[in-house]
Structure formats: C-alpha cells, structure tokens
C-alpha cells in the first residue's frame, strides 16, 4: 500500500483528458477534451472542502477520479493516504459518495438500499439493519422505511443517498452538487445535515456551483474552471481578494467592444472589458457610473437593454478570475 502524508486528500499534477466525441467520417476531428488540468490539491483531515466552478469546469471529473470511477490520464491522487490507482478498493472502503443525481437501487426499498449497501462493505446483516434504522431516523426518513424509492421525493432520495454514503461509516464523504434540483426548504435541511456531519469530524468534499452554499458551508474553497485551480482559500480570505470594485454590467443592443476605451477613461474605473453585447466595468464608484456608461453607448448609437450590479463577493471574484458567471 502506498501511503502519502496524513491529509485526507492529496493530488499531484492530476490530469484527465477525454477522447473527443466521434465525428462523422470526413468531418474535422475534434480536439481531445481536457477536463482536469494539472490539479494539485491538498485537503486536510476533518476539513469541509468545496470545489466551486461553473458547469463543465471539471468538478465532477475530479470527484470521479477521487472516488475511483474515472481513470486519471496522468498524475497521482491519494485518498486517506491510499493511491486511487494502486488500491481503488482500499479507497472505496474509506469513502462515501453522494452522486449528482440520486441513483438508488430501484428494486429495493429505502431501508434495503441502506442495508444492502452496508453489506457490500462486509458489515453483517444484523449490524447493517441496525445502522440503516438509525440513519433513516437521523435523516428524517423513518416513515419512508419500506417505501419503494420511486415513492420518495427528490429531496428524500437525496437524503437517502447521504444515508447510503454513510452506511459503512466512511472517513471521507464526497458530494457532487448535492442540492441541485432541490427546493429551498430541502436544500436548507440538507445543509443542516452536512453541518452536523462536519461537526462530527468527518472530512467532506463537495462540489457546487452555488456561491451561497460554498460560502455558508465550506472551511476552504477551491475555485476551478477549465480543469484548473484558479484560487484556493477560506471563503473569508477569498472575499477579501475579490476586486474591491463593484462590477457594473451594461447590456447594449450591439457589441460593446467599441465602448471599452471610452469606458476605461470614466473616473473610478479600474478595468473595462466587453463580452459580446455586455460592457463590464470594474469601478470604485459603483452605480454612479451607470449614467456615464449609458451616455457612452448612446454616443455610439446604442441603447441599453439591461443593467446589473455585483458587489464585491465570491461571485465578483469568480467573474474576475474566469470571465464568466457561475449560474
């Protein structure tokens, strides 16, 4: 068994390249897709870690590699000190996985889902039944014990997935976008469960594209896009790093490129850029600049379609790092 240091998770130069999707004969071949690009990551024992990024940023692939479901193209990854390449079964013994979309065993009841999953880890049937009962109780699913999984709501199925992930008492819990598709109430209920698990000292690794979720729950955040780690710190520190400026975004009815040079001369502007029809201005003067920006547009014969202000936050940091929005 290859052991690394005692961090819960460690990756070195982790890279995953997918073959391009097959094209019709004669068509130009698509380039390979780099989903994870030289990722170096270290997550401590007991940490609640969040991977934040837009869809397609490589979050799910990263989780896939760490949970032994995706082969890394190169680089190394260790979970609980065990190499995912050298001993995938050893890694699986120590992790619980909550998938992006609930995938319960539909031939079994809620209770049986937990019991059988535990027995796959060598837990005796009696012990598995006792633990399944406790977990259903704790996750507020006790009355759904004998329900077929099809009879559970989305939120209940997601909680069942958390129960399943915990059924063999893993050291590290992975959750891939656990609150996507949940109503606000179910989302808050899930947050409480996750906070509870974190308090008990379990390492939690979660991906999300919800800023608020990352901010509220995680000890530390990694911001990823195009498979690369762009920033890594506590939510508080990251917010401090966010550009001190408000982002003023004015959408015109024509490409905004022509307006950039004038906009960057507006007082208080630290940076101005065009994204299609959007003019993005990072400004210390916030909303005050709006009339000036509108005037610049009108000077070029354009009219305004939409205006959006973002105060310094994880979101503005994210936009300044990646040039795109999360949601």
């Amino acid at each position: 068994m290859i052991r690394a240091s005692m961090s819960a998770i460690q990756t070195r130069g982790l890279r995953k390249v997918y073959d391009p999707p097959p094209t019709r004969r004669g068509a130009q071949k698509l380039p390979p897709v780099v989903a994870v690009d030289s990722l170096d990551l270290e997550i401590g024992d007991g940490e609640f870690f969040g991977l934040l990024g837009p869809n397609g940023a490589g979050k799910t692939t990263t989780i896939g590699i760490l949970t032994t479901r995706v082969w890394a193209t190169s680089g190394e990854a260790f979970v609980a000190g065990i190499s995912v390449n050298a001993d995938p079964a050893g890694v699986r013994r120590r992790i619980g996985v909550v998938p992006q979309r609930p995938n319960p065993d539909r031939s079994l009841s809620a209770f049986e889902n937990l019991v059988f999953h535990a027995t796959y880890f060598g837990i005796t049937a009696a012990q598995a039944r006792r633990r399944a009962g406790e977990l259903l109780e704790r996750l507020g699913l006790a009355e759904k014990k004998d329900a077929k999984v099809d009879q559970l709501s989305g939120g209940q199925q997601q909680r069942l997935m958390i129960g399943r992930a915990l059924s063999h008492d893993p050291q590290v819990l992975f959750l891939d976008e656990p609150t996507v598709g949940l109503d606000p109430q179910a989302r808050l209920a899930l947050w409480d469960i996750l906070r509870d698990l974190h308090r008990q000292g379990r390492t939690i690794v979660m991906t999300t594209h919800y800023m608020e979720e990352a901010d509220q729950l995680c000890d530390r955040l990694g911001i990823v896009d195009h498979g690369k780690l762009l920033a890594l710190d506590t939510p508080q520190q990251l917010k401090i790093q966010a550009p001190g400026d408000t982002i003023v975004e004015v959408t015109f009815d024509a490409p905004a490129e022509a307006l950039v040079s004038e906009a960057s001369r507006v007082e208080g502007t630290t940076k101005a850029e065009a994204r299609g029809n959007d003019l993005c201005v990072y400004s210390g003067r916030g909303g005050e600049t709006i009339p000036l920006l509108i005037a610049i547009g009108e000077g070029h014969g354009m009219s305004v379609r939409d205006i959006h202000l973002s105060r310094p936050s994880l979101e503005t940091l994210f936009i300044s790092l990646t040039g795109r929005k999360l949601e």
Binding site: R69, P99, P104, F116, G122
Partner: protein, 261 residues
C-alpha cells in the same frame, strides 16, 4: 470501515442482493421467460401428437430442447435487461461499483446470478412440460452428474452472453436484438429437432454450430434422453466452456468500459 474485507464476503453480499430481488420478481420473471417454451410444449407436445400430425416420440426429442430454450432465454434476460437499465438512465449500478472489490467481480457476480436464474427457469419448466406431454419415452434422470455439468455450463455461457449484450448494445437496439439475434438462435438451436437429425441437411448441420444454443440443447439431450442420437459429450462440454470463457471475457471488457471512464 477501513479493515480489509475478504472478497468472497462482498461477492456473497452482491449475490444476496440479486437473489432477494429475483425472488421478489420470480412470478413475473418466469412468465416472461418460460411462457413461450411452455406454449410450444402445449402445441407440439400435446395438441399435434393428438392430431396425429407429429409422432408421440417427438416429445422425447423436444423436451430437452424446451428446457434448453428456457434456460438460455432466462439466463440471457436475467443479466442483459438489468444491465441495460442499471447502466442507462438510472445509473443504479454505481451503488455496487462503489463496493470495495474489483469492479470485474461485480460483473462476475451478475453472471453467476444469471446462471442461477436460468437453471431455476428450466427446473420450473420440466415438471409442467412433463405434465402437459404425458409420459416421455426414454427420459431418464440417472445421469445426474452430466445433467449438472450441462446445466451449469449452459447457464454460465448464456448469462455471460447476456452480460455482453446488456453492456455492449445500445438500449434502443435491445428490441432489435431479440428479433434479429434471439429469434434465429432459437430456430437454429436444435431445440425442436436433434442435431443428428440434420444429417438430412448436411450444410445446416455445420452451419448451426455457430449457434450457442445448439450445445445447450444437445447437452441436455445427452443427459436427459441419451438414447436419442446426439453430439458427443466432450465436444459439447468443450464448446460450452469456450463460449462461457469467450463471452465472460467480452462481457467483462464491455462492462469495464461502461463502469470506468
């Protein structure tokens, strides 16, 4: 859980899951896989002999074929249909792919469970067929050893074929598979006639050898109705072993392609 758990215990737990589910759905499963063979028994084993269109002795030829058909169809379907579903939209299989065991063993477990279901189906069909057809001349249960070898090998071979089909064929093409692959396989599988009977049509006699069902039919014939001329046992066993090995290899390969990306 961080202690190493012996693989056989995890394997047993996976098998237990499939046995539990299969037991719950056994009525539906048996109707789906044995109705066709039993209807055939009714027409060719009862009605047509009474009409005098086929001889009474035909039941002797037909019984092993019908059992072979039930066993093979059940084993194939017991694995292929769940695989299509569990690797498809529902992704249910991930529950088991997370078990701390080599993923290949999850697939091997499916083969074992499928073989068991195939054998159960043939055990279910035997007494009903016997009841419908009446006494069957030449039927014997004395070759227990040979019977067990033939049923187990046949179950494994067809269950492995099911694994391959279920993981390699696109879900939309499953219906097509049953009409294009399974239907001809049944007709050319020496189920309704003995292989030696094809002496009358020599080209067919050699062509049908590519049909895996031939070996199941002939294997059961050699064990249950040894008086009917049949393919030599060593050839049957070798063919079944080769089929089981080939399709286990192909099935595992396509299973792993689906399991890991």
């Amino acid at each position: 859980m961080s202690e190493r758990v012996p693989y056989w215990r995890i394997f047993a737990a996976l098998l237990m899951r499939d046995v539990t589910v299969a037991r719950r759905e056994i009525g539906y499963f048996l109707v789906r896989t044995t109705l066709q063979p039993l209807l055939f028994v009714l027409i060719f084993g009862l009605i047509m002999p009474r009409m005098g269109i086929v001889g009474r002795a035909y039941t002797t030829t037909m019984l092993p074929g019908i059992l072979a058909l039930s066993l093979a169809l059940s084993a194939v379907q017991a694995v292929s249909l769940p695989m299509v579903q569990e690797f498809g939209w529902t992704k249910e299989i991930e529950d088991r792919l997370l078990a701390p065991i080599a993923n290949q063993l999850v697939a091997v477990e499916k083969i074992v469970a499928g073989a068991m279901q195939g054998i159960v189906a043939s055990i279910f069909v035997l007494p009903i067929a016997r009841l419908i057809m009446g006494p069957i001349p030449g039927l014997t249960f004395r070759n227990v050893g040979m019977l067990m070898i033939m049923t187990i090998l046949s179950g494994l071979a067809f269950s492995a074929i099911g694994l391959f089909i279920g993981t390699a064929i696109a879900p939309q093409q499953i219906g097509l598979m049953f009409s294009v692959i399974i239907a001809p396989m049944i007709m050319f599988g020496c189920t309704y006639y003995p292989w030696r009977g094809l002496d009358a049509v020599p080209v067919m006699k050699w062509l049908v050898l590519i049909d895996p069902l031939v070996y199941v039919s002939e294997g059961l014939r050699s064990a249950l109705t040894p008086a009917v001329p049949h393919m030599p046992e060593p050839a049957i066993i070798a063919a079944l072993l080769a089929l089981a090995a080939l399709f286990t290899y192909l099935g595992l390969r396509s299973f792993m392609k689906r399991a890991m990306s």
